[in-house]
């Protein structure tokens, strides 16, 4: 607890992935203070060139994720009190992504995989057609809804060791998106999705480590989604064989 207003001992990663190092800063503790506030305070008061990224500051845009004391987190909604160890914080760029500088990562690989997993709608109707009436309680719709609120923050991507060890692996978020689209009754190309997630970086590489579900700040469960894809791909495998 930080009741008496003392300084936090903050170690921040500076520089590139290979050549960087942690640097120590002292930041005044406050009652209402998020990790993002700590990082901003350093940038605004101690070193204006500290590179980091945020946008919405309320957990909607998914651009502020970093490693905090070794765990991936959305920093704008992580209260300092929740993660403080002793009086220390260790803040590093999100794992498993190329580092641009300091705390800013290049998220392109994450989104390239999102697209590679066919994580987008394949339309069956046009803007001239009426909107399809759909039972919100049908099992497929519920399965689709389960993963729909992903904010693509890449926290799961950073938590997953398979992503770390297997550069081709599409990763939990992209696969979860593919599963969501696959379950959407309006989608017109389910075979393409299954094809996309059955390649050498596909869903079958997931070892159900569950770190994705453990860390997803929105309590989503990509592990279950990926299991769904495995099941669906096996089913279609047998159908084709017949």
């Amino acid at each position: 607890m930080v009741t008496e207003k003392e300084n936090l001992d903050v170690f921040v990663w500076r520089g590139l992935a290979e050549t960087g190092r942690f640097e120590r800063y002292e930041v005044p503790a406050q009652d209402s203070q998020t990790i993002l506030d700590v990082v901003s305070w350093i940038q605004q008061n101690l070193d204006a060139t500290l590179a980091y990224r945020f946008a919405c500051r309320v957990g909607m845009c998914g651009s502020c994720a970093m490693m905090v004391n070794g765990e991936p987190r959305w920093t704008c909604r992580t209260h300092v009190r929740k993660v403080l160890r002793g009086n220390q914080l260790k803040i590093a760029p999100l794992r498993n992504l190329p580092v641009i500088r300091d705390l800013a990562t290049d998220m392109d690989p994450f989104f390239d995989k999102w697209v590679a997993a066919e994580g987008h709608h394949h339309p069956t109707r046009t803007r001239d057609d009426a909107i399809e009436a759909l039972d919100p309680q049908s099992p497929e719709r519920r399965a689709a809804n389960a993963g729909i609120e992903c904010i693509n923050c890449a926290v799961c991507y950073a938590a997953c060791d398979t992503v770390a060890n297997n550069p081709d692996f599409l990763g939990p978020a992209a696969l979860q998106r593919a599963w969501t689209v696959h379950n959407d009754a309006r989608d017109g190309d389910q075979p393409a999705i299954l094809e996309a997630v059955s390649g050498k970086g596909g869903c079958h590489n997931c070892h159900s480590q569950g770190s994705c579900a453990q860390y997803c700040p929105n309590d989503l469960n990509p592990m279950t989604a990926i299991a769904g894809l495995k099941r669906a791909s096996v089913k279609s495998f047998f159908k084709r064989e017949r």
């Binding site: 945020f54 946008a55 500051r57 641009i100 987008h120 909107i131």
Partner: protein
């Protein structure tokens, strides 16, 4: 001495600034309508789809989809909400095309909006609307809209320039048309000049020059500041919408200013002053359920009486509804507050009015044309659709509708356009120099300047305004401005140098703040979001005027122009005779 700067050159055909609702739709529609082989480039200050405010839309999307509701009714609500100031042709197209756009969002883009048990779209009524009209996805509508659009854009051959900050609209030598846009590649700090035949600007305004504000951190009025420098006329610049309940948690945290949902008041949330008393009924018979502007003014008045909470705001209290009920009804809000250390369900949370949306913007026609050939503007950067006040749910409808329109129009008009135009090199290098300025000066305290600007705007051009206050603000703004131009930033590296971008943000904010203040001075009545204590009257409706601000060699001018009632006149309606006032059942 700054070293001589190389400018990298890049060409495209259609250039889109911003990846909000406006930018995304412009890209998709341009791709559908432009001739084969047209190069389309999207340049954004952040990452595609992960910046801007469209993503932050909570409540939803206004669209008349039948069931008694009509485009006419949506239009009338928009005009009445805007207190007769909207450009009626622009507002009409907004309401009309929203119907198509929402079908496109569902059917082609793949958004899934909440359904009724019978499978039809669920629509609710936002304040100020006479029908259940707002389509939504829980209270995270913007995430659904932008994520789906993002996937579509990323999976198409659209060139991406991410973390590219536009710093100047560069005209041709004769000034007749736009040649291209100058950017800073934020990751490397290099300058990049991108020529394009057609440019759509959708940088989304963003009134972040106020002490309390809701928008995304990347927004700093860059677009309007660029338009101003390019000499384009801007309208309704005094119109800043405040949301009554922004979270108040102290100056040191970015949580301060973020929106606590409108629905909290609708559901019976009570506003309490520092002494723990309800006060909204002192200001309006509807109490907490009055419209945004009224409640904001009520809170502001209470704050002025110093009846405040610790941090200088008021409290919102939900506990009397039963903490479990609150938790169940507003799970997202409760969780968000809890993450930040506040107990919304059972305790008191401090709130304050917070600058939310900017109604003013570049003057456009219903096809998004501007006064400059080759430049198209859509979304929050464009003025006219909302007049003096925006209905909740019309913001995202506006950006998606007009982004799409811009894409279609650019795709069609580019066929008739000749070669790429060459820039006025003098203006180009002047813009580079302007941007480089702070790097060659001694660094000093930007925070103090930002704070002073935000205080000045909040105190003197905020929720309630007077001539005296506004004039004071104009002086304060110009002081900040001149201090800013003496202030430098650390420049050991230009790559991802946020200090540098802070400076540029502040420069844009100062420029636009001056316009807001001067336009506020020019409007001597009270309409919608603009409230003058010295002119509390709304003025004659038939004689309604809007303000036009424009910068030229002679400086900034603000003039008044009469509103043209092209579709409906004050006091009249286009609804058929005998239509009920409202289709929304009064809630207990």
């Amino acid at each position: 001495m700054a070293p001589r700067i190389d400018i990298q050159h890049h060409d495209t055909d259609i250039l889109i600034l911003g990846s909000g609702g406006a930018g995304m739709f412009a890209a998709l529609h341009a791709q559908q309508s432009a001739p084969e082989g047209t190069r389309i480039t999207m340049a954004v200050k952040g990452l595609i789809g992960k910046c801007g405010c469209t993503r932050m839309v909570q409540g939803g999307y206004n669209v008349a989809l039948g069931g008694g509701d009509t485009v006419e009714r949506h239009f009338m609500d928009t005009i009445r909400g805007g207190k007769w100031l909207p450009d009626q042709d622009v507002a009409w197209k907004l309401c009309e095309q929203a119907v198509v756009r929402v079908r496109e969002l569902e059917n082609e883009v793949g958004c899934f909006f909440d359904r009724n048990p019978d499978g039809s779209l669920h629509q609710k009524a936002f304040a100020g609307q006479t029908a259940d009209r707002t389509v939504h996805k829980g209270d995270l509508t913007g995430i659904e809209i932008i994520n789906r659009l993002m996937e579509q854009v990323l999976s198409r051959p659209i060139e991406k320039l991410q973390e590219h900050r536009a710093v100047g609209l560069i005209p041709t030598k004769d000034g007749a048309a736009l040649a291209g846009v100058l950017f800073i590649d934020m990751r490397t700090g290099d300058f990049r000049f991108v020529r394009a035949k057609a440019v759509m600007m959708g940088t989304g305004g963003g009134p972040t020059m106020y002490k309390y504000n809701t928008p995304s951190g990347d927004k700093s009025m860059d677009g309007l500041a660029m338009a101003l420098r390019a000499g384009l006329p801007l309208r309704d610049m005094e119109m800043v919408q405040f949301h009554p309940t922004g979270l108040l948690a102290g100056e040191h945290t970015k949580m301060t200013g973020t929106v606590l949902e409108e629905g909290l008041r609708g559901a019976g949330g009570q506003l309490l002053n520092g002494a723990g008393q309800r006060f909204m009924f002192d200001y309006d018979t509807l109490g907490e359920r009055a419209t945004r502007d009224v409640v904001s003014r009520g809170i502001y008045a209470e704050m002025r009486k110093s009846n405040t909470s610790q941090n200088g705001g008021v409290f919102i209290s939900m506990a009397h509804l039963g903490p479990d009920v609150v938790r169940q009804k507003f799970p997202g809000m409760v969780k968000r507050c809890a993450d930040c250390g506040f107990d919304l369900a059972g305790g008191l949370v401090e709130v304050v009015p917070t600058a939310h949306y900017f109604m003013g913007g570049v003057i456009v026609d219903p096809d998004t044309h501007t006064a400059m050939e080759g430049l198209y503007v859509a979304g929050e950067d464009a003025g006219g659709a909302h007049g003096s006040n925006r209905l909740g749910g019309n913001g995202v409808a506006n950006s998606t509708v007009y982004g799409g329109v811009a894409g279609d129009v650019m795709g069609a008009e580019i066929r008739g356009m000749g070669a790429l135009r060459d820039p006025d090199e003098d203006i180009l290098s002047a813009e580079v120099e302007r941007a480089l300025g702070p790097l060659s000066r001694k660094p000093s305290d930007l925070n103090a300047l930002r704070r002073e600007l935000q205080e000045a705007m909040w105190e003197d051009v905020g929720v309630m305004r007077t001539r005296e206050g506004i004039e004071r603000a104009i002086t304060r703004i110009s002081d900040v401005q001149s201090d800013l131009h003496e202030t430098g930033v650390a420049g050991d590296t230009r790559a991802f140098n946020l200090g540098w971008h802070d400076w540029l943000n502040l420069a844009s904010l100062c420029d636009v703040s001056e316009v807001i203040a001067k336009a506020a001075l020019a409007r001597e009545n009270s309409r919608g979001a603009h409230f003058r204590e010295d002119f509390p009257d709304s003025g004659s409706l038939p004689a309604s005027y809007f303000t036009v601000a424009q910068r030229s060699d002679k400086g900034l001018s603000v003039t008044r122009k009469p509103v043209r009632f092209t579709i409906v006149r004050p006091g009249e309606t286009i609804l058929p005779e005998g239509e009920p006032q409202t289709l929304v059942e009064a809630k207990p």
